[in-house]
């Protein structure tokens, strides 16, 4: 029982991390109808920027305190993400209004290649580490309930907490602020939004910036866990089933989907994996999402698809 709970909790926390990446997909899809394959590259790019700036800052400014260096690096990385968002809107998206979904998908794949190339060319292609002072050692909880207690990774716990906070903040931003309302209007109907005076171009910069910042947070958390390296870009592929499962247009869907996928992956790996040779994590999530799709083609929380002839 304790082992099962431990796996379950591990899965839930991994799921929170997936939903962080998935959030980036959902944000951009909601506001522009673009399925952003470059989200993984954004995560890598942001993490690289963060890791390298925190390394370079003490040399540039003479700041000794690692906390200040980290904060400075975070701000700088945020600025870089803003520049990326602005350039993408300016040079790419602006020219592709009203194109088909497949074309836009391809464009984001092109952007992904570009970002990976620039990121590694500029920031370097070794393995870097991000140290924001996350506690590494695991803790035991509920020792009086189970024999030996349950092992929880403190780092995962904090990461999950940050993810939850971020989701809360984003929900507030979408529901309560004027900008958030404008974003939802654009997502609903580009033309109608434009006709009531919402500047489409600025909205897109904002949404890519928000997605970039989410990528930065995801990059810091994943990066301090695994180290910043090229494989970070493939995290996006792990997060895709989450998006399918939760629905492309739903922020809560990304969270719930992430939790389901995280738990499903861990449980399947532990209880099913040994029978078929292990390593099934990667496709099991997709199969799970596929089965869900057969019953709900628009995902768990996606908007109902209505066909008109």
């Amino acid at each position: 029982m304790a082992f099962f709970l431990e796996t379950l909790i591990g899965g839930l926390m991994a799921g929170m991390l997936y939903s962080l990446v998935a959030l980036g997909f959902v944000l951009i899809y909601k506001a522009s109808g673009v399925f952003n394959f470059a989200q993984g590259a954004l995560v890598l790019f942001a993490a690289l920027a963060m890791a390298r700036f925190s390394e370079w800052l003490p040399g540039w400014t003479g700041i000794d305190s690692p906390i200040l260096a980290n904060i400075g690096a975070f701000v700088l990385a945020g600025l870089v993400m803003f520049a990326v968002a602005w350039i993408i809107e300016r040079l790419v998206l602006r020219h592709l209004v009203n194109q088909e979904g497949a074309t836009l998908l391809m464009v984001t794949l092109g952007i992904a290649y570009l970002l990976e190339g620039i990121g590694q060319g500029f920031f370097g292609n070794d393995i870097y580490k991000i140290d924001v002072g996350m506690p590494k050692e695991p803790v035991m909880v509920l020792e009086n309930m189970f024999e030996g207690g349950i092992l929880i990774n403190k780092e995962d716990f904090i990461a999950a907490l940050i993810a939850a906070l971020l989701v809360g903040a984003l929900t507030l931003f979408f529901q309560k602020t004027a900008t958030g309302r404008a974003l939802r209007a654009v997502a609903d109907d580009h033309q109608a939004a434009q006709s009531i005076g919402i500047p489409l171009n600025r909205i897109w910069v904002i949404i890519w910036l928000v997605a970039g910042l989410v990528a930065l947070v995801a990059g810091i958390i994943w990066g301090s866990k695994l180290g910043v390296q090229f494989s970070l870009a493939t995290v996006a592929l792990r997060a895709l089933p989450v998006v399918i499962l939760g629905g492309l247009t739903s922020v809560p869907g990304a969270i719930v989907g992430g939790l389901i996928i995280g738990v499903g992956e861990k449980l399947s790996e532990v209880y099913l994996g040994p029978y078929v040779g292990g390593g099934i994590e990667i496709w099991f999530a997709y199969m799970l999402a596929l089965v869900f799709l057969l019953f709900r083609p628009q995902g768990l929380f996606g908007e109902k698809i209505i066909d008109r002839v």
Partner: protein, 358 residues
């Protein structure tokens, strides 16, 4: 002046229905095919065969398969590499497990196995579409990546799924020199391209296009979506399977599952989109573009760096390759979202009026 159909009258139904109704087109295509079969073997050295021509032919076949599904039937797939892998490993199994199995038969059987697998993974297309379907096809990709790595029966107990094939033979003709491999692939490609062209002009191809343009409307006028979609998946996977088997047998010789990874799937989709969706010709353009570009950049960048007195390291070249590749794709999609095939037909229209454009 030179490209004009004036005076070419159609006097029979056969003339009306031919693939290239304009005589100049017909002769040009025949000339190109004849040149590919007869001329190129005398002109080209071994390196070009190995590095460019053979990969181009095989990937063009694969792109053709993807184009039938994505361009003609409108079902986006990101799992094309998986079906190539299925074709390659199925053909391998047929070849080594059955004594005296002819190589060509093994390759075609590999294609049929891929077709069956394609039908199975095409079933979700009956329920979901668009981006959700694209994600669903990723399931095929990851599943087969895993299966060929971990299930040792598929790979005849070879460690990490790396297998090899030697002694390619076709009716007593042993295919081992690059030039022979080239001719073998070219023959298959010509055959399958003709087949694909005719398929898209037949009832089946028209059903696919109706489904692509609006599936609900197609259903209303009496097209069975199940048959249309699954047949598109089957035919496309067959092409991919044959291409995969060729890639393994003829191009690589020995391969492992990584040869058919998700990067391959993206690459094939790039070919179709850059070449032109819904165009047989486009598949060839796209394949040529994607095959030649990295090789060109690889040769060209260090030279360019040397020109301005800059030494570019190998890692630098690979990063620059990434960047330029990505930038070119973005640029291309902005300038011509309908691909090279559209540029080609625009060019032909212009040529018809030339030199009096008004």
């Amino acid at each position: 002046m030179i490209y004009r159909e004036n005076g070419q009258f159609k006097t029979s139904y056969a003339a009306d229905q031919q693939i290239f109704p304009i005589a100049q087109d017909r002769w040009a295509v025949l000339a190109i095919v004849a040149f590919a079969f007869v001329g190129i073997p005398f002109l080209v050295d071994e390196y070009l065969f190995r590095a460019i021509l053979i990969p181009f032919l095989i990937l063009a076949l694969a792109a053709l398969g993807v184009n039938l599904l994505v361009g003609y039937c409108g079902q986006i797939t990101l799992g094309a590499g998986a079906f190539m892998a299925v074709g390659a490993y199925a053909a391998y199994n047929f070849l080594i497990r059955i004594d005296g199995m002819p190589m060509l038969a093994a390759i075609l059987l590999g294609g049929f196995v891929a077709a069956v697998v394609g039908i199975v993974f095409g079933i979700p297309s009956l329920r979901v579409r668009g981006l959700y379907l694209a994600m669903a096809t990723l399931a095929a990709q990851f599943f087969w990546d895993w299966a060929f790595l971990r299930i040792s029966w598929f790979t005849n107990n070879a460690p990490s799924g790396s297998v090899s094939v030697s002694n390619l033979e076709l009716l007593g003709w042993s295919i081992d020199a690059p030039i022979e491999k080239y001719l073998f692939c070219l023959g298959l490609l010509a055959l399958f391209a003709l087949l694909a062209k005719n398929m898209t002009r037949s009832a089946m191809g028209r059903q696919w296009m109706a489904i692509r343009d609006m599936d609900v409307a197609a259903e209303v006028i009496g097209i069975r979506p199940m048959f249309a979609k699954l047949s598109a998946f089957a035919v496309s996977s067959f092409y991919l399977g044959v291409a995969g088997a060729l890639w393994g047998f003829v191009h690589l010789g020995s391969w492992e599952p990584a040869a058919f990874s998700i990067d391959r799937s993206f690459q094939l989709l790039f070919m179709v989109i850059i070449g032109g969706m819904g165009s047989i010709m486009g598949s060839f353009f796209g394949a040529a573009f994607i095959v030649v570009l990295p090789i060109f950049l690889n040769q060209f960048l260090p030279w360019l760096g040397g020109l301005v007195g800059l030494h570019i390291s190998t890692a630098g070249v690979s990063h620059a390759e990434f960047m330029i590749f990505g930038a070119l794709i973005v640029f291309f999609l902005i300038v011509e979202p309908h691909g090279i095939a559209r540029l080609w037909s625009t060019g032909k229209e212009k040529l018809r009026l030339w030199p009096f454009p008004h």
